[in-house]
Amino acid sequence: MSFITGYDWEKNLVKKVLRKVIPVIAWLLIWQLVAFMIHNKILLAGPLETLNALISLSQTSDFWESIAVSSTRILLGFFIGSVLGIAAAYLAYTNEVARDFLKPFVVTLKSVPVASFVILLLIWFGNRNISVIICAMVVFPILYLSTLEGFLCTDVKMLEMAQVFRMPRLRTVRYIFLPQLKPFFQSAFKLAIGMSFKSGIAAEVIGQPLHTMGNGLYLAKVYLETGELFAWTIVIVLISFICEKILALAIGRAK
């Protein structure tokens, strides 16, 4: 029989943290070394220049406004795409005609490059809400396909049980469908939130709506401010990471 003492537990925790931190530090050092060797801030800004750029950006109100505007639009698009994707998946699950009807639409959304949609949407609607629409279009097929797969994998025997007992619809959803869908939601939402930020920012870079992170990236490119470009990238990755973790936590807690 073995016991884990408090000391062992602390040791394990330190080991776990070190295993995550050391590779990051190593890569930062490599980055700094390469930047030092290239010695050209336009070609490659080092981590210190990036940090400096981040600090100076964070002292402007435009920086925070851009984060707020872009995040709100991207999350709104993510929400709309998710709701529509799940609703369409339920419709496709209950109705085979609807499933066949939706198939070409979903395949098209999945395979057409985001840039093509962005240009088309710019012509149709202008650049203001481009990231909302693009995010919804990117998230929709991800949620639709995963949710539909989850529905189709639902235990038929449990559904028969619900049918025989005339189980109330909401309880069928809660006790039979949701436990079955949970792993599908977990992977779909994780993928969708990452894709939302990638496609949303790409749409903003092309469409250039004012006071957005995409516009910040574009201006950094125009003025050859590689440090700022990296700083914006880090901010985007960080926000996407935080949203992904919050979402994973929320789904993990949902029974």
Partner: protein
């Protein structure tokens, strides 16, 4: 209420399972259906429940019945329980007409206090079977339909379950399939071949 099973024929992949089968299921009567594996016992119950359609013949509700379907309490061949939910939740979830307190009392007739609050995935096969039996009996129904309800039960539990089912049957009908008719002499035994 009478359920008329008339001239039923059912085949799977060219193999006839039921051929011109007839049965009238009446209130207050018990029907113990027995026979070797594959003789069509489960198929017959699935046809009565409306989960399958016969190739030929009909299953009809005769008389003036309040529902367009058979209002049954059912035990399936498998337990068909929600694994992460406890026994009480597994019973209450199927109907708005049953309440936690009543269901707890019902479950305590066949299971220990400790067992009814655990997720059913942690229960033994026999305990799970008893949860399925209580689920069928606790909800208000006009007929109890049970497919091999005593699988995995020892003799003592089996006797207790038979007593419980008899008590809960009340004035309704009971259709039960089994390989072992011990203790079920109160019903009309139908031997299938």
């Amino acid at each position: 209420m009478t359920i008329e099973v008339k001239d039923i024929k059912k085949s799977y992949d060219g193999r006839t399972v039921l051929d011109n089968f007839n049965l009238n299921i009446e209130e207050e009567h018990s029907y113990i259906i027995t026979g070797p594996s594959g003789c069509g016992k489960t198929t017959l119950l699935r046809l009565i429940l409306g989960l399958e359609k016969p190739d030929e013949g009909t299953v009809k509700l005769l008389g003036d019945y309040k529902y367009p379907y058979i209002n049954s309490g059912t035990v399936f061949q498998e337990d068909r329980l929600c694994e992460d939910a406890d026994a009480v939740t597994n019973v209450t979830m199927v109907s708005r007409k049953v309440f936690k307190e009543t269901v707890t009392q019902e479950l305590l007739q066949l299971l220990s206090e400790d067992a009814i609050h655990k997720p059913v995935k942690e229960l033994s096969g026999g305990q799970r079977r008893r949860v399925a039996i209580v689920r069928a009996c606790a909800i208000p129904s006009d007929i109890l339909i049970m497919d091999e309800p005593f699988t995995g039960l020892d003799d003592e539990s089996r006797e207790k379950c038979i007593e419980y089912i008899r008590h809960k049957q009340g004035s309704g009908a009971l259709v039960l399939t089994t390989h072992d008719t011990r203790g079920l002499e109160f019903g009309r035994v139908i031997q299938m071949v």
